[in-house]
Symmetry: C2
Subunit: 348 residues, 2 copies
DNA sequence: CTGTTAGCGCATTCAC
DNA sequence: GTGAATGCGCTAACAG
């Protein structure tokens, strides 16, 4: 075990030991200018001997380059699951490439005071906001600030706002076309409770209306059900739907717990997936999709894309104050896990 | 909306506008020396006018006081649930009082390289490790380092290691005494799978053996079951136990999913809690305990205590290099949620 | 290829 | 009560 030196070695210590000037040590580190092999070796040996590690905070102060970024992940009631961490990890990986660390911030979404304190401290160089609402106080506050920020998701008024979001307008058509091409003409849409939709939750509204519009174009009938997010509600919803509309050959979900209920009910009724009923699910993570029996075909944004893109945009904004506003919509991806198939012939 | 100033105001700007020297502004801020009311007012007005906020990073550099601490929370497979956030929030709150920010770090527990990079950066002033294992590579690495650190949980060889942990040796006796006082003489212990115990998972081993020892002293018979952590296994375990040992009047759990199964099976069998069977559960959070029907009486460490204590110790170590090693065991707390009661008279 | 110099924004010691 | 001066550890012109 190495002896612990009394104090942190500094660049000056290294320079002295290597017999070069301070700045030469810096340049040897960054490679920003050519150094003779011999000098470089002496410096490296000195660094080793002293156990020298550069001090990022001092560097940040001097260079005025970003070194710490916050990711606001308001956890609220539901915690953070493994799929959420895709965002975080992707953002973190992207940041590390630039030598930037990620401060994961989990305060309540309404605790603007805490946010204000964080920002005022001058500790962080930028911030990414997750779980953005149609009207979001955090955005209002940050707009009054000099701090660069990017949102994952968008507010209603997104003027001059840099954001990354899923392109929900494309989700509906993608689903409809996939099913219509398989011959389905009558489908169920198991959506969120009415209250969620009415409160202006963007993803559901945009997806739902784009789906309806495309269904009309393709001559597909859609039966919309606003289901509470639990297993029992999903079971009941499916049972009622099939009674009322026996011609339904596919169920599209935007409600993970309810869809578990739908799958349970199908199993109870002896209906097979996808032979008797096709299943398609919006927005759930691969982990959630693989967890059920059978696994579900999904339409969503690949984990990590949003996090990575957000960090990329933020870095641009931090580095270049006059960088243009970027509003990015990530295209949806359909992952076929075998729960959709040709429409069965069914006696209406 | 305020106009965005071209650049951040500095202390020098404030001093100039207020017509005082730089240091006077500093002292006005910290209150470290007397300032005339008149001067103070001028300074405060100047700060307001300029929208001045102190720059934490520069302050940290100059004062050499800690300003950023990492909390390593290896999320692994299971994600972060709301009760986990108790630790985080408690630590974060404690840190904020000292003007320290918390960097929540979720990299894999085995990614020592990433840890090395984080530490080498010189960005953080200390680190708290969660989910510590009996033999933990992170600890091995950090020991070779000058960076102050504290663990939540302890390694096998904890020489010169500062840690906070639950006092598992006290869990068993607390449970046994509680039940024995209620007249129970034959109980089941629904523990973790044998593999977990054999791999040297400290909490289970310590709790289990302290429970056995105290049971012997109090003349209580304990039937140990190593159950897989899922609902079905719990149901089966209870059914078999009651068949083999009908005299059992209480079930003690250290296995959240299995205990849900136990409760289900009791309900199916028409047995009431606590009239027919008492239930006591180790180590689960209040949220988990309240989630079941009926809610469960628990023995555990109050959420937040560990996080708060860990941060306190870390701050001490960062502030005072020669601070003594602290090894703290937090006492258990029994929270009675009504699932334990007097032992029923049962015909053996 | 390498050294010198002047800061980054602030805390703090030493003067008055 | 207040100001001047020095330095935290490093970067980045500006000089050779």
């Amino acid at each position: 075990m190495p002896q612990q030196p009394p104090r942190r070695a500094t660049r000056a210590d290294v320079a002295r030991l290597a017999g070069v000037s301070d700045s030469t040590v810096s340049y040897a580190l960054t490679g920003d200018r050519p150094i003779s092999d011999e000098t470089r070796e002496r410096i490296e040996r000195a660094m080793d001997d002293l156990g020298y590690v550069p001090h990022a905070r001092a560097a940040a102060l001097a260079s005025k380059k970003p070194s710490l970024v916050a990711l606001h992940f308001p956890v609220g009631e539901r915690g953070i699951d493994v799929s959420d961490l895709n965002y975080v990890n992707a953002a973190s990986d992207r940041a590390e490439v630039e030598g930037i660390q990620l401060l994961m911030w989990t305060h309540d979404i309404n605790d603007i005071d805490a946010l204000r304190r964080l920002v005022s401290q001058g500790l962080i160089d930028g911030i990414i906001l997750m779980e953005v609402r149609q009207h979001d106080e955090r955005v209002d506050y940050l707009r009054t600030t000099r701090l660069p920020f990017v949102t994952i998701g968008r507010t209603k008024d997104n003027t001059a706002l840099s954001y990354i979001d899923a392109d929900f307008d494309a989700w509906g058509p993608l689903a409809v076309n996939h099913l219509a091409d398989l011959g389905h003409t009558e489908v169920a849409l198991i959506s969120q409770p009415g209250s969620v939709v009415e409160s202006g939750y963007g993803p559901v509204i945009l997806t739902q209306s784009s789906l309806m519009a495309q269904a009309e174009r393709r001559g597909m009938r859609v039966h919309l059900v606003n289901s509470r997010p639990n297993i029992r509600a999903g079971r009941e919803a499916l049972a009622q739907l099939l009674t009322a509309h026996p011609g339904i050959t596919a169920a599209v979900g935007f409600n993970a717990p309810a869809m578990i209920g739908v799958l349970e009910e199908l199993a109870v009724m002896g209906l097979r997936v996808p032979e008797d009923m096709s299943i398609l699910h919006f927005g759930i993570s691969p982990e959630q999709a693989e967890m059920t029996v059978p696994a579900q075909t999904t339409i969503s944004v690949p984990g990590g894309v949003l996090g990575d893109e957000a960090m990329t945009v933020l870095i641009e904004r931090m580095t270049n104050a006059s960088a243009p506003t970027r509003q990015i919509l990530a295209p949806p991806v359909l992952v076929d896990r075998g729960s959709t198939g040709p429409a069965p012939l069914r006696a209406d």
